[in-house]
């Protein structure tokens, strides 16, 4: 298993726990911040958990191209992990506070977070798209 896959899966597990805990907290009677937390725990579960597990496992299991076999810790995969997680952390730190603070600081954090998350998806696609290929059946030569 490549190191980046371990990172994706373990990070995914952490977001799964955080997402469930936050969703549970938001549903508690008397908690008034439920609506503000809704996009946070939804993204923790769908991007932080499910998508990261899918990304990590596909980077590990999908057949590599000849060029990719030389280096299993490829740059797009590693960069995708770091940009996605940096983007998610910035998002979770800033998004619930947007209704209260509309300053340059929060707006910049949201902008950077948005660009990082989008970049992560593009980097993942650069890694995985060439690996979604039909199996090449070797041609047997007559001796």
């Amino acid at each position: 298993m490549p190191t980046v896959t371990r990172f994706f899966i373990k990070s995914g597990m952490i977001y799964f726990v955080l997402g469930i805990v936050l969703a549970f907290y938001a549903e508690l009677p008397g908690v008034r911040t439920g609506a503000l937390l809704l996009p946070v725990y939804w993204h923790m579960l769908v991007i932080g958990w499910i998508s990261q597990i899918i990304m990590g496992v596909s980077i590990w299991m999908f057949p590599r191209t000849k060029k990719q076999r030389e280096n299993i810790e490829s740059f797009p995969a590693v960069a995708s992990f770091w940009t996605l997680n940096a983007g998610l952390i910035l998002r979770f730190m800033a998004e619930p506070f947007l209704p209260f603070f509309q300053g340059v600081m929060v707006t910049s954090v949201i902008l950077i977070s948005s660009l990082l998350q989008f970049a992560a998806v593009v980097l993942y696609l650069i890694e995985i798209w060439p690996r979604v290929q039909p199996r090449k059946i070797p041609v047997r030569r007559r001796s």
Partner: protein
């Protein structure tokens, strides 16, 4: 990788990009209002992310990687597998169109029915492949 999986994975990767694009625009719109109608992207964003990306990718990968039959066609009959791909994507397009066009009241339920039929086909194709060959003779 079978052709059905190839199609499902490639389409799901395109949907992943679209989900990220719509999500990024919505997040930016929260901080810097872009356009009054930007929130219309929200239902598209989550239908694309859940159905187009996550569910389609998982179905395509499972159809490819689950244990194959030892006799006959490795992954069972091919026609239902093609219908699974076609109905899933036709249903999803109908569902997405219902959020954008709102032309008739039947588009959204029709799309969901096609998705449901596709998932039933997936269940039919996969049921006997969820097996341990040590105890079953296929």
């Amino acid at each position: 990788m079978p052709a059905q999986t190839l199609w499902m994975l490639r389409i799901s990767l395109i949907y992943f990009l679209l989900a990220a694009l719509t999500g990024s625009l919505l997040l930016i719109h929260k901080a810097i209002p872009l356009h009054p109608s930007a929130w219309a992207l929200l239902p598209l964003h989550y239908e694309i992310a859940i159905w187009g990306w996550v569910v389609q990718f998982v179905m395509g990968t499972a159809y490819w990687m689950f244990p194959r039959f030892l006799k006959g066609k490795k992954r069972g009959p091919e026609n239902p597998a093609w219908w699974m791909v076609i109905l899933f994507n036709a249903g999803l397009i109908a569902l997405l169109a219902s959020h954008v066009l709102q032309p008739t009241q039947y588009l959204a339920p029709g799309g969901r029915i096609l998705l449901a039929i596709s998932i039933l086909l997936f269940g039919f194709l996969m049921w006997n492949r969820v097996a341990s060959f040590k105890h079953h003779d296929h």
